[in-house]
């Protein structure tokens, strides 16, 4: 899947590209508005990441261009500005999602996958990992074709981990994803630990408890290997 990264800050651009590359995305980059425009005119992508703070033009205008040309690319806005107006305007113009800097790359990854999935209706809605199968449409999880019952939070957790398989996920990234920014800040990670513990227990009962490993000092990793 092809992703275009339009971001003027070099280090950030490179970091995002590195991460997404290893996720299997094919990445291209643009350093400013005009480069972004050029690339978009020449190629098609599955998803475009647009930074609103571009030096030579408004990210919004790029969105407008894409919509004018009736392009099917998914659009995710990234921005340093925590402005509700920006967010609303971006979404109204046709962006699919809005992510505020600084964000976890795992979160960006999950969002891109989500946006792309939403746009490809013909695609399959199942994520398979080892013996586990997650039906995104029906919101059910099966291990060896047998359904296991998970709470909504546990489903969210699992989906996030599946989007970022084989990645070390920092615990605050997971917490932010599940609880949102405000609430994640409200307490230590005890709350998160207990949720993950419950999820592991249920996966254990189905025989795949080892898919979720804890990484000392940092967080967790989902690896569908025996």
């Amino acid at each position: 899947m092809k992703v275009l990264i339009v971001e003027d800050e070099k280090a950030l651009r490179q970091n995002i590209r590195f991460y997404l590359d290893s996720e299997g995305f094919t990445c291209e980059v643009a350093r400013n508005f005009s480069e972004g425009e050029e690339k978009l005119e020449a190629f098609d992508y599955d998803c475009v990441l647009i930074d609103l703070g571009l030096p030579d033009g408004l990210g919004f205008d790029l969105i407008k261009r894409l919509k004018e040309l009736k392009r099917p690319e998914g659009i995710i806005i990234i921005s340093a500005r925590d402005a509700l107006d920006d967010k609303i305007k971006g979404l109204e113009l046709g962006a699919d999602d809005y992510l505020m800097k600084p964000f976890h790359l795992a979160e960006l990854n999950a969002r891109i996958k989500s946006v792309v999935r939403r746009r490809h209706f013909e695609g399959s809605n199942l994520i398979e990992a080892g013996r586990l199968c997650f039906d995104l449409e029906a919101k059910t999880v099966q291990v060896d074709q047998a359904e296991i019952s998970l709470t909504r939070t546990e489903l969210q957790l699992l989906q996030y981990m599946l989007a970022n398989q084989n990645r070390v996920l920092p615990k605050d990234a997971i917490a932010e994803h599940i609880y949102g920014n405000d609430i994640a800040a409200a307490d230590s990670f005890d709350f998160l630990y207990s949720h993950i513990k419950n999820l592991k227990k249920k996966l254990n009962q189905a025989g795949v408890g080892n898919y979720i490993r804890s990484v000392y000092g940092i967080g967790y990793k989902f690896e569908a290997s025996e």
């Binding site: 800050e9 925590d82 800097k101 600084p102 405000d182 800040a185 709350f191």
Partner: protein, 420 residues
């Protein structure tokens, strides 16, 4: 404090009074002197006329002869006649019930019968009435002049000084946060013209400075977000290293935690700045209980997890006109604090009575006195808190003129907010 009109009037009145009093006194004495002088001249004239009479009276020894209360003749010795120097004097005669004052010219004359002393008298009645008129006229003039001055002052101040009063009113109404400046209004009067120009320039500069300041914090916090994003993403990549040792993992985690703290601080600062700069001004009618419950619902999982008991006591809750986002932020911060600073199995009590909101929670005593906690950057010592939560609440209250109070007593934290 005294008004311009009053003080001007006072000065005019005092000056006028002084001048008129001095003038009246001087005039009185001058007039009196003139009158006396003319009386004396008249007396001299009458004496001469009297002595030209063909026959002069010749009273008997020692008996003064009084003629029509105008002349008194009395015989005197030759010796006295020789030594006598004519002079003026004043005397008074009792006429019936009245005492009448006279001006007297004393002289001597000689005729066939002998030597005589002559007094020529003139009553001073006219003089008194003249002086009376003078006094009345003076007082009348004083009053008239004063009235005139006051009227002129009033006219001057209301018409000529109108631009001044207008400017005062405008300056009083000027709010640097509004998007207007005081315009330059040219005037015929040099001073007012200069004043208007100066005020216009001043308000322009005020607005500029204010606007710059307002956006300064916002700009700074935005600038911080991007480098933070770079660090965060770099860390995300580093921790993917399969050969990560435990020490390295801890190292990265500590870095990550510091980044989180900076980020939280940055966001809180931005929020504080926005609140201070009136970003949240749109209002709608809200129900306190409703908004609080909605905000609380997001935290229910956390509350259950810590086994906190929540007791609600809502009484008549009228609607409040406020900004919804701001109210949610206020409640969010209070709830967060009530959860974080609470013990396991602790309690949270919420009371809403009219527009008064009280929230209590059990918990350990804060390490800092309450009033310091509320100020920016002093944290309670708990790892998860940035210490800005209460600052944000206080700021929201300040901007909306809500009453805010926090204190800790006997194991309970208590926060009171009055939304009016």
């Amino acid at each position: 404090m005294i008004k311009l009109t009053q003080i001007t009037a006072r000065y005019f009145a005092a000056a006028t009074a002084l001048v008129l009093v001095v003038w009246a006194i001087v005039f009185f004495f001058v007039l009196r002197y003139q009158i006396l002088n003319s009386i004396d001249q008249a007396l001299l004239e009458r004496k001469t006329a009297f002595l030209e009479e063909p026959t002069l009276p010749s009273p008997e020894h020692d008996q003064p002869l009084i003629i029509r209360r105008e002349y008194v003749v009395k015989s005197v010795t030759a010796g006295r006649y020789q030594q006598f120097q004519p002079y003026f004097s004043d005397t008074a005669l009792q006429v019936g019930e009245n005492k009448i004052f006279y001006r007297v010219y004393n002289t001597v004359f000689e005729n066939n019968s002998g030597y005589y002393e002559l007094k020529v008298l003139k009553a001073r009645i006219t003089e008194a009435s003249i002086i009376q008129s003078v006094v009345i006229d003076t007082v009348a003039m004083f009053v008239l002049l004063l009235l005139l001055l006051l009227l002129i002052t009033r006219y001057l101040l209301t018409r000529t000084w109108r631009p001044f009063y207008d400017l005062v009113a405008q300056l009083q109404a000027f709010d640097v946060r509004s998007h207007t400046v005081l315009p330059y209004e040219p005037s015929r009067i040099a001073e007012f013209d200069a004043l208007s120009k100066a005020v216009n320039k001043l308000t322009q500069r005020s607005r500029r400075v204010f606007s710059d300041q307002k956006h300064f914090i916002e700009n700074v916090t935005h600038e911080i977000q991007t480098p933070l994003a770079v660090i965060k993403s770099k860390l995300d990549i580093q921790i993917q290293d399969p050969n990560l040792t435990q020490d390295q993992a801890l190292f990265y985690e500590e870095l990550a935690e510091s980044i989180r703290k900076i980020n939280k601080l940055n966001r809180s600062l931005l929020l504080l700045s926005k609140i201070e700069n009136d970003h949240y001004i749109e209002k709608e009618d809200l129900s306190l209980a409703h908004v609080f419950d909605a905000t609380l619902s997001a935290f229910l999982p956390k509350i259950e997890f810590k086994h906190l008991e929540v007791v609600k006591n809502y009484q008549q809750a009228p609607s409040l006109s406020a900004n919804r986002l701001l109210l949610e932020i206020l409640f969010t911060n209070l709830i967060k604090n009530a959860i974080v600073h609470n013990a396991e199995n602790g309690k949270i009590e919420v009371e809403i009575n009219g527009l008064q909101f009280i929230m209590r929670n059990t918990g350990t005593a804060p390490q800092l006195p309450a009033h310091e906690l509320i100020h920016r950057f002093k944290s309670s010592g708990k790892r998860e808190s940035t210490g800005l939560g209460l600052s944000i609440v206080k700021q929201i209250c300040r901007v909306n003129n809500y009453y805010f109070h926090y204190h800790y007593a006997s194991g309970w934290h208590e926060v009171t907010v009055k939304f009016e």
